[in-house]
């Protein structure tokens, strides 16, 4: 596949650029961007965990799911925006170096799957009566979507943390 070498070339050119190099060699900026990446993902994934625990039925049972989703959405999305922006910066500084780790593509595979799960929930499950009417027991499909989301995001975080260690 010529796509992967092209991608690695692109990553290398970013890393070799003046911007990428100065960020990678910076004393304060790079650790700060790493820290912001951590905080952004803590906000977005953390609030998603809470939402998922609601779907599974172990937390905030009195709160209607549509209300929970609507009121937390801006914060989840803001968290993702910060995580994504800082992620782009980190990639420009060291993308070519870390792309050799199998954990790197694994992380994005899990992000993609988590996104699919979220879309599936949003467009196929969120409109169903048990969700809209805040019924006390939710169908298995909805509880499973919550568990799948938790599992996938945990795998994203594990993959991310393993990047420097694999191979």
């Amino acid at each position: 596949m010529s796509l992967i070498p092209a991608f690695l070339d692109f990553a290398q050119s970013l890393q070799d650029s003046a911007f990428g190099t100065s960020l990678a060699e910076s004393r304060y900026a790079f650790p700060i961007v790493e820290g912001i990446h951590l905080l952004g993902l803590s906000i977005s994934v953390g609030l998603i965990f809470l939402t998922d625990l609601r779907l599974v039925g172990v937390l905030l049972r009195g709160v209607a799911i549509p209300v929970l989703l609507r009121q937390l959405r801006p914060w989840v999305l803001s968290g993702f925006a910060v995580t994504f922006a800082s992620g782009l910066l980190l990639f420009s500084a060291e993308g070519a170096t870390i792309a050799v780790s199998p954990a790197f593509p694994a992380k994005f595979l899990f992000i993609f799957l988590a996104g699919l799960n979220a879309l599936y929930f949003e467009f196929r499950l969120a409109g169903l009566a048990p969700v809209q009417e805040n019924q006390p027991t939710l169908p298995k499909r909805i509880r499973f979507a919550g568990l799948a989301s938790i599992g996938l995001w945990v795998l994203v975080i594990i993959s991310g943390r393993l990047i420097p260690y694999l191979p």
């Binding site: 650790p31 906000i43 965990f49 809470l50 905030l60 209300v67 009121q71 943390r161």
Partner: protein, 158 residues
């Protein structure tokens, strides 16, 4: 060498400390994963209540109710982070002891826990807390926990 450092080194050289230090680097990575996940769980619970105290986020419940419902998560997250943290610390005591980012992190962590236990007990003892006190407490709490995260991330760079 100070008595504290000698004591800490003794723990590092004990059976558990040296086992962890000599183990495969993936053991340390596993500890880090439990540490980060613990932090995220803890932060999500703290954030939910703090956003409510600021009048945003999940407003369907009072701050008092949210704090009550998520308190278990705070303990689970904190336990996971502290246990994995002790694990990592005792595998390389001198490395952390002399790291300034680690020192800041522990100080900020202590401050965050004190604010959580004392201030929040006061704020959340009533269904309708004083809005000014609530907002200051929420911002202080968020600021401290975020700083703990940033300081922790900085450890590897200092």
């Amino acid at each position: 060498m100070s008595a504290t450092l000698e004591f800490l080194n003794a723990i590092q050289q004990s059976a558990i400390g040296s086992a962890v230090a000599k183990s495969n680097h993936l053991v340390g990575a596993t500890a880090q994963i439990f540490h980060v996940l613990g932090f995220i769980i803890l932060l999500s619970a703290v954030l939910l209540t703090n956003l409510r105290l600021l009048g945003v986020g999940l407003r369907d419940r009072s701050a008092q109710q949210l704090a009550g419902e998520t308190s278990k998560l705070i303990w689970i997250g904190l336990a996971s982070a502290v246990i994995s943290g002790l694990f990592m610390f005792f595998s390389a005591v001198e490395l952390y002891y002399f790291n300034p980012a680690f020192a800041y992190k522990i100080l900020l962590l202590a401050a965050a826990v004190v604010v959580q236990v004392l201030w929040f007990r006061k704020i959340l003892s009533t269904e309708t807390p004083n809005p000014v006190v609530a907002r200051i407490g929420a911002l202080l709490s968020i600021g401290l926990w975020f700083s703990v995260g940033l300081a922790g991330r900085a450890i590897g760079f200092v």
